[in-house]
Amino acid sequence: MTFKSVLGVATALTLVAGSAALAETITIATVNNGDMIRMQGYTDDFTAKTGHTVEWVTLEENVLRQRVTTDISTKGGAFDIMTIGMYETPIWGSNGWLVALDDLSADYDAGDILPAMAGGLSHDGTLYAAPFYGESSMVMYRTDLMEKAGLEMPAAPSWSFIAKAAREMTDRDNGINGICLRGKAGWGEGGAFITAMSNSFGARWFDEDWNAQFDTREWSDTLNFFVNMMSDSGPAGYATNGFNENLSLFQQGKCGMWIDATVAASFVTNPNDSTVADKVGFALAPDNGMGVRSNWLWAWALAIPAGTQKEAAAKQFIEWATSKDYIELVAANEGWANVPPGARTSLYENANYKDVPFAQMTLDSILSADPTNSTVDPSPYVGIQFAAIPEFAGIATEVSQEFSAVYAGQQSVEDALAKAQALTNDAMEAAGYR
């Protein structure tokens, strides 16, 4: 740990030298993802460079959302930086709740942020949150099982191919499920997956007058296809599987394919955690021949709530955490495969990063996602696996609970869609859309 001791010395020196400058303590609310926890370990580097110290509030995703949303909407001021996603940023930005990030330093090079990410984290062309890492979704598959089944994965598969491959790979006696997908209730879990998938089937959440669309054939096709595929080739009890559950199933070699966040690629190819690290291939998320693929777009980003007393220090932190230097710092200590992906163009131009097996497919997936034009038929909302309106999180969580009840065999597809239709229209009415 020579690096850490160097850091320690550097910290001490800076503290002595910079004691005249205003050193502040900023409070940051963040999610307990691996990349975020890694960042906490490097906080000393930030303190050494600026003299500011950091207090972390690390929470599980659902608790974090509940916590920061309450605080921002009441202007509580408990945090100087909040970790939020692509869903919250445009809504909060338009409410004037976030500090615009339009005066970041030249060194920081805001123009280097991937345009898809910058677009999703802006409102009216102003950036309100800086992406720490970004993701799309793609197919991760077992090359050995694919070969055994005598199939070859195209770079851009269709849903019918995926369903067929899943059936062929399934070997339940040996604990291998052809495909693992999210079925867990929650708008950011199963809700996100089925919404992104429905886009490729030509479905949408709302028509242009904000009427719910669950009574359409497209939604019924989506849900039936999903349920049939999962009962043929999915793991038992997939109704409660989310990102984390599927990750460990895949790492333990129990899935032939997994369609999920591109950031998972570095976990499934990491030999320390994954038993199948050297047998993983990647492909674009499937489509259904309708011109829209089923991949989503998401970023975990750092934003500053308006009204904080420590805006300058908070901005310094954001510039540090989402900078090119931070990526270099992580790369130098833990290798290129572990740097936060999906945020900066320069990362994908870096010769070292090109050797990482999933780099190109991640970039292709991100580039093929378009939040402003996510559905086959026109829709009034922005967002792929969500609709960027304040009511969506609540509605989509309830809808996905109805869907999960289908996955658990507790109600029929038709019943779930009818309930989803009714509760969505009811909530939209309450919010004054209809």
């Binding site: 599980e60 309450t70 509580g76």
Partner: protein, 276 residues
């Protein structure tokens, strides 16, 4: 008390009671054991009980990630402070209800208990706004006050039922002797009430320690107790049973140890007037 029982019957009782006791305790034991395993051993098939390579690495990881001591201190201050404050407010109220009862005493007692039935989630916004106004957000003082108010009805009720068991004649006699109210409480009541007060304190420390809604929603970095600590371990990426177990063990160990050491006191006063 001592009932003459054959050794055979005693043995059957013992076996049965131990079996049930171990069954009830098993989830906690399993958590503690898992906290010393590697992540791989934690999900091993078949499960391993004792014969694995005991490791402290999970505790090291948890310690490196979160400042456990600060969460622990906050838990101690918040649970202890709210209980102390509750006792200061509750003892006089319970005393007067027990020894100077009026027709409305029962109603007041029931009304106090009913304030506990307000669903906390329904008033999160009002309380949050209030806390901002009063500058109590993310402060231990704020949590001490809220938890004191939440548990006050239980405190008063426990003390009331306990005080009621103290025979009133003793007080009458003291009054005849011309003892003042203060002396009456200090020299006569207090010694008799100590078991009741002790178990009230214990029960309320437990309730305050385990309260997970307000302690999570009204804190940020400064005042967060162990309930906030555990909220960062509930579903990270990849395998996490061993780390979750280590964090869980660290969160419950202090109160478990306190509870075990003081279980006699706890049991002695924990009657809620259930025994006549």
């Amino acid at each position: 008390m001592a009932r003459a029982v054959s050794n055979r019957r005693r043995a059957i009782n013992t076996a049965l009671a131990w079996a049930v006791g171990l069954l009830i305790f098993f989830p906690i034991l399993w958590t503690i054991l898992t906290s010393f395993k590697t992540e791989g051993q934690a999900i091993a098939d078949p499960p391993v009980f004792l014969f694995f390579d005991w490791t402290l690495e999970n505790y090291a990881i948890v310690q490196e990630r979160s400042n456990y001591m600060r969460f622990l201190m906050n838990s101690i201050i918040i649970a202890g402070g709210s209980t102390l404050l509750g006792i200061i407010v509750g003892v006089p109220a319970a005393w007067s209800m027990a020894f100077v009862p009026s027709r409305r005493t029962k109603d007041i007692l029931m009304w106090m208990l009913s304030t506990k039935m307000l669903p906390a989630v329904g008033v999160l916004y009002p309380i949050y706004l209030l806390f901002i106004q009063l500058g109590l957000l993310d402060s231990r003082l704020g949590l001490v006050i809220v938890l004191m108010l939440i548990n006050l009805p239980i405190i008063i009720w426990m003390l009331y039922t306990y005080f009621k068991e103290i025979p009133g004649e003793i007080l009458e006699a003291a009054r005849m002797d011309g003892a003042s109210l203060g002396k009456e409480i200090l020299y006569i009541l207090t010694p008799m009430a100590i078991p009741g007060i002790a178990s009230t304190i214990l029960l309320n420390i437990i309730l305050a320690w385990n309260e997970a809604f307000w302690t999570l929603n009204l804190t940020a970095a400064k005042a967060g107790p162990l309930t906030a600590f555990i909220a960062s371990y509930s579903s990270p990426e990849g395998l996490f049973y061993a780390k979750l177990s280590a964090a869980s063990t660290m969160a419950i160990a202090p109160i478990l140890i306190l509870g075990w050491f003081s279980q006699k006191q706890l049991v002695r006063g924990l009657t809620f007037g259930a025994v006549k």
